[in-house]
């Protein structure tokens, strides 16, 4: 069976006033408070805390090398080993994007291009990072392995326009990715 019925615990009249639970909670938070002030927070050492509590003093110290492989930073566009821009502007990421952060203007690959076999490429590809919620659905929806969630998280736009990443910026952030499937080969 997919679900399990759990019986609600019977609580006595004494417990129903929740006074003990309430006071117990107050004691726990007070304990944390006292331990923080005297600098003995739990797992402070393991987490590399500094000063009071377990906080890592962010701009000076960073967590970067502990970032897990599956960490979802800002989305980027990548180029393949052959230098081809992998995005073919199928607009599936635009469709799946729950925050509607992606806007793509599709266009044609010029006939004299080395990659005119692909026919289609984005003219403009914008991700509004003020809307992006870093869910990674674009990466999952992408049939061309073109959009990836990077490990980057340092984004500080100073105005709203700078918060919108255009195609050039996305490729600059993404760079080249190795070991992707080369679908648009001669035998496709």
């Amino acid at each position: 069976m997919a679900f399990k019925t759990i019986k609600r615990p019977k609580i006595s009249i004494g417990e129903r006033f929740y006074l003990k639970a309430l006071l117990g909670g107050l004691v726990i938070t007070m304990k944390h408070l006292v331990l923080s002030i005297i600098g003995k927070s739990r797992s402070k050492k393991e987490l590399g805390g500094s000063g009071i509590g377990v906080t890592m003093q962010y701009p000076e110290y960073r967590w970067d090398k502990h970032l897990p492989e599956y960490y979802r930073g800002y989305p980027v566009l990548v180029k393949g080993e052959d230098g081809r821009e992998r995005c073919v502007s199928c607009q599936l990421c635009e469709f799946i994007c729950p925050a509607r952060a992606i806007t793509i203007k599709p266009g044609e690959v010029p006939a004299d291009s080395q990659w005119n076999k692909v026919e289609k490429a984005p003219v403009e590809f914008e991700i509004d990072m003020l809307r992006c919620i870093y869910c990674g659905m674009c990466q999952e929806a992408c049939p061309e392995q073109a959009i990836f969630m990077s490990q980057g998280y340092l984004l500080t736009p100073t105005d709203k326009k700078a918060g919108v990443h255009n195609k050039a910026k996305l490729y600059e952030l993404g760079g080249t990715k190795q070991g992707l499937v080369n679908k648009w080969n001669a035998y496709k």
Binding site: L33, T55, Q57
Partner: protein
């Protein structure tokens, strides 16, 4: 010259009208200074205590000189040296040395005490955005209606004992009304208009729900709040808050009757209804101020930001300040009614008056009052970061089915006790 000034002051103060006006102004300044100054302080307490409870540091980055050199890079990058380079100054020149003398080469964090000031500045500088399609007049009026009532109610709360001066007796309360608690209830219930108007005028669904929730909740808890202090008023037989505090200073705080008349058996019997009243009143104050276990009206998980979702900049800050001002006034009311207001307690008030003089005792009482207030602000924060938020139906059930009945029964219990012991 000095003599003439002194004699002028003397003649002015001897006139009872001028004396009244001048003392009133001084009292006003003290009263509002306490209330207003406590808003940023309680914000700081809030943030600091919350972070300690969660094993964090909390606000600690703001320091003198307000991290102005931060724009030149991080601490490790020697921002001061970079700043000097930027202006083309020698590293050990006169200006550099002057800066070093004033410790401008490094930040002095000051435990993050500057944070509230900088926060306030930030709020002033933020874009004041009025969304389209709001009902503009009410949208603008609503924050004022939230902030004004708590500040008005502070007027009747005594913040120190009487001060005897050669020109007359100064009562340390802005408005020595003989209907103190009633005034507070009357005025503080007005702030619900601000919340409802904010919710309605924002022309958005979440603020509307938040506004409606808060009005229902505040009106519900006002009832149990009002009923819960009736036993106290029966015990005090008094509605003047100054007299109530004076009574507690002489005869023991209501919750801690350890001196004066408080040592009698009757007072200890009366503690039963008083404790019930205290619990109801305290909880209702939490509900009235929309603080966390009861912050249904701005519950982020289901209402984004509640009634102030559409507000920004100082208009938002006014809601924010209104909440803290209400919290401070609520605490001061609890202190005044149950915990002896300004009195230092244990009979020390009388001893101080006799041995150290009137001025010293009044100032000590003022300090003690402020300390009590700070302790209570801490208590508010402590509860906020301990107790999870109620569900809305639980809030209403608690208000109407538990506290209301309990408060009514409590009145009868008190009446019965008083009938037998007096």
């Amino acid at each position: 010259m000095i003599d003439s000034i002194l004699s002028f002051c003397d003649s002015v103060l001897s006139n009872q009208y001028w004396f009244f006006i001048i003392t009133l102004l001084i009292k006003l300044v003290i009263c509002f200074a306490i209330t207003i100054a406590f808003i940023p302080i309680s914000v700081l307490i809030e943030r600091r205590v919350a972070s300690f409870i969660q094993d964090r540091v909390g606000p600690n980055r703001v320091g003198i000189p307000a991290t102005i050199f931060k724009r030149f890079g991080m601490k490790a990058d020697l921002p001061f040296v970079k700043a000097l380079d930027y202006f083309g100054l020698p590293h050990d020149g006169r200006i550099a040395n002057i800066c070093r003398y004033f410790r401008l080469d490094k930040d002095i964090p000051l435990l993050g005490l500057l944070q509230p000031a900088v926060d306030g500045g930030k709020l002033f500088l933020k874009q004041d955005f009025t969304p389209p399609f709001v009902r503009r007049f009410y949208f603008w009026v609503a924050p004022m209606l939230v902030l004004a009532p708590p500040l008005m109610t502070a007027a009747v709360i005594p913040f120190a004992g009487d001060l005897e001066t050669p020109y007359g007796n100064i009562n340390m309360v802005v408005a020595n009304l003989s209907i103190g608690p009633l005034w507070i209830f009357a005025i503080s219930s007005l702030s619900v208009y601000g919340l409802v108007l904010a919710g309605w005028s924002s022309n958005s669904k979440f603020p509307l729900i938040g506004g409606i929730r808060s009005s229902a909740q505040m009106i519900s808890y006002e009832i149990s709040m009002g009923l819960s202090i009736i036993p106290l008023l029966m015990i005090y037989s008094e509605l003047n808050l100054s007299n109530i505090v004076q009574y507690q200073a002489d005869n023991g705080w209501l919750l801690l009757p350890f001196w004066g008349e408080g040592l009698t058996v009757e007072r200890w019997v009366l503690l039963i209804p008083i404790v019930i009243s205290f619990i109801i009143f305290l909880t209702s104050v939490f509900a009235e101020t929309n603080r966390t276990p009861f912050d249904m009206s701005e519950c982020e998980t289901d209402l984004v930001g509640g009634y102030h979702t559409e507000y920004s900049s100082m208009k938002f800050a006014q809601f924010f300040m209104g909440e803290y001002a209400a919290m401070i006034v609520g605490s001061s009311l609890v202190i005044t009614l149950f915990l002896g207001g300004w009195s230092i307690g244990f009979g020390i008030d009388g001893w101080l008056l006799d041995n150290c003089g009137n001025w010293i005792s009044t100032i000590l009482q003022l300090i003690f009052y402020v300390l009590k207030l700070a302790a209570f602000a801490f208590f508010f924060v402590w509860v906020r970061w301990t107790v999870p938020r109620f569900r809305y139906d639980q809030v209403m059930k608690l208000g109407w089915l538990v506290f209301f009945e309990l408060a009514v029964i409590n009145i009868f219990i008190t009446a019965a006790i008083l009938y037998f012991i007096k």
